[in-house]
Symmetry: C2
């Protein structure tokens, strides 16, 4: 199995409750709860409502970030759940949001970020800041 640094779920929620999608307080509450549901540690959250409608916000977590953008007029929300570390389960955040937003349909794409094989093969020099931690030494690989 390939060693990766992060898991990134790109989620599209359809048929959500428009009132929910248009409330910055409600969306921030659900996003912070989603972060806790997946086992993350919240560093900071920032949410904003736009005129005439729509909310954008991000929860920075110690393990990367969760982001949302809502279009109440379409019942649509676009969500990113990007997590690092084996103790985090981003699908738990997805499931929490699916229920809280009242989504009638959803799509998920799961991507890997920071594939260590790619990092090793594409890093042309050992790391000068932390030479003891450069990928070739850490993973037993060699630099091109």
């Amino acid at each position: 199995m390939t060693d990766i640094l992060g898991r990134h779920l790109l989620v599209e929620f359809y048929g959500c409750q428009p009132e929910t999608l248009d409330s910055v307080a409600v969306i921030e509450t659900h996003m912070n709860a989603a972060a806790l549901a997946c086992g993350a540690t919240i560093v900071q959250s920032t949410f904003h409502r736009f005129e005439p409608w729509g909310v954008s916000g991000v929860v920075v977590i110690s393990e990367s970030h969760l982001a949302i953008h809502t279009w109440p007029e379409y019942g649509y929300a676009s969500v990113d759940l990007y997590t690092c570390g084996g103790h985090i389960e981003p699908l738990a955040a997805y499931e929490h949001l699916r229920l809280m937003l009242g989504a009638q349909q959803a799509e998920i794409q799961q991507l890997q970020r920071g594939n260590m094989d790619d990092i090793r093969s594409r890093t042309p020099h050992p790391n000068p800041l932390h030479p003891d931690l450069n990928p070739a030494i850490l993973k037993g690989g060699t630099f091109a």
Copy 2:
């Protein structure tokens, strides 16, 4: 051409300057400049440094968000450039960051978010909050 709400570039930068990736002030400066470079309006930015190294941060823009997570020990940075609106060019933010981080290699995946055909076909009811803006009426489609 399909009507979409957002463009999302997922970028992996390899072989970056470790000192750059480990400075929260430098990363925040470059990310905010990247937002301006692509024509975005900055709403708020939040950046944090982690121990023993690494920076995470997000710039919320009126047109969605830009996010970064850095691994100085690997010379690697993972970047998301998510923009909405025809006046924004996320590739300009990518090019700014590629230069400022000193990336020796990069990969980009470009995804579409909020495909209006999908929204129309997957929204099971007209929107009760803004009935005059429901997708079927807006786009002349019909709900299943």
